[in-house]
Symmetry: C2
Subunit: 184 residues, 2 copies
């Protein structure tokens, strides 16, 4: 069910041809690793990198899904020995799809790397950097990236709510008990 | 000369007892690696981690000195198998010293990890997140971190100017010719 919801979220904006690769990426990220903060980078209609929030796992509060996918992406390109200008050109053609609006930190990071466009599900009312708290994705001079939010926002909110209601087994000190424990 | 300027910048705000360790950190970072965007994390008056801007080296525009030092710091703690709460407690006692005002992305990142206090040299008029463009280091509720800027700002500006006038040999496509090449 979760995989389906996550996939539907993405499929609303990318072509039908992407379905298989997106389902594959989300199957790994979402079903197996129990994480809702997910993103993928798409180039020419194909998912080429994926990331998930790893703040608990790494004990590093900056390791949001977007920062993870940027590093994964660049690691791939380093292996192909692309030059700096080739990397910049790559980023300028890529789109990022993420379940929740990038926070202020991630919005600036995505702007620094020169991503072409970002699509997100639900708004991030506390830290959102693409319109909710601040609008750091673009400047009056037209710099930055295009951003479209609210894609299947209801489903995205439901997905996060469901996740947090169950409790996060990866957190070192869960704020809420896991569903299974709570019913014991 | 550069080492001396960089050391003086830090020494204006931290105790004399720190001098040796700071000089050591900056000798490696600054003199040998030819980089002006530097920072150190200090715990109980002792430098415990250092970072430098690695955006050109990694071809990753998000690898600012502050992001580097956070990762270095956490790597050390992971080796010591500290828990998440122990890591959070560590950060809440640490101070960060950096040559230039943290950008918006780094200001939020430092806030996320819960650093106690930040000191910086010159302002970052284009991207500064601690007062110059936005003030993201603290909230009206008192969350975030204390921040003091303008420490030996003239020297810090001079240090950056000198660096960029010479050209950056680490950049893949230098915007300015290196001093040596320019005089040939």
């Amino acid at each position: 069910m979760r995989l389906w919801t996550a996939s539907k979220f993405l499929l609303s904006k990318i072509s039908y041809n992407c379905m298989n690769s997106i389902c594959h990426a989300f199957k790994i990220l979402y079903t197996l690793e129990l994480c809702t903060h997910l993103c993928v980078i798409v180039e020419d209609g194909k998912v080429i990198a994926s990331g998930r929030n790893r703040t608990n796992e790494t004990q590093n509060a900056t390791r949001h899904a977007e920062m993870e996918v940027i590093d994964t992406f660049l690691e791939q390109w380093r292996e192909h020995r692309l030059s700096k200008s080739e990397v910049a050109e790559k980023f300028s053609k890529c789109k990022l799809y993420v379940t929740c609006e990038p926070c202020i930190m991630c919005a600036v990071a995505l702007s620094f790397i020169g991503i072409k466009e970002v699509f997100y599900g639900c708004a991030n009312d506390k830290f959102g950097g693409c319109g909710s708290v601040l609008s750091l994705h673009s400047t009056p001079k037209g710099e930055g990236f295009k951003c479209t939010g609210g894609i299947m926002a209801t489903e995205a909110v439901s997905l996060f709510r469901s996740f947090y209601e169950q409790g996060n087994p990866n957190a070192s000190k869960p704020h809420r008990p896991l569903a299974q424990q709570a019913t014991q």
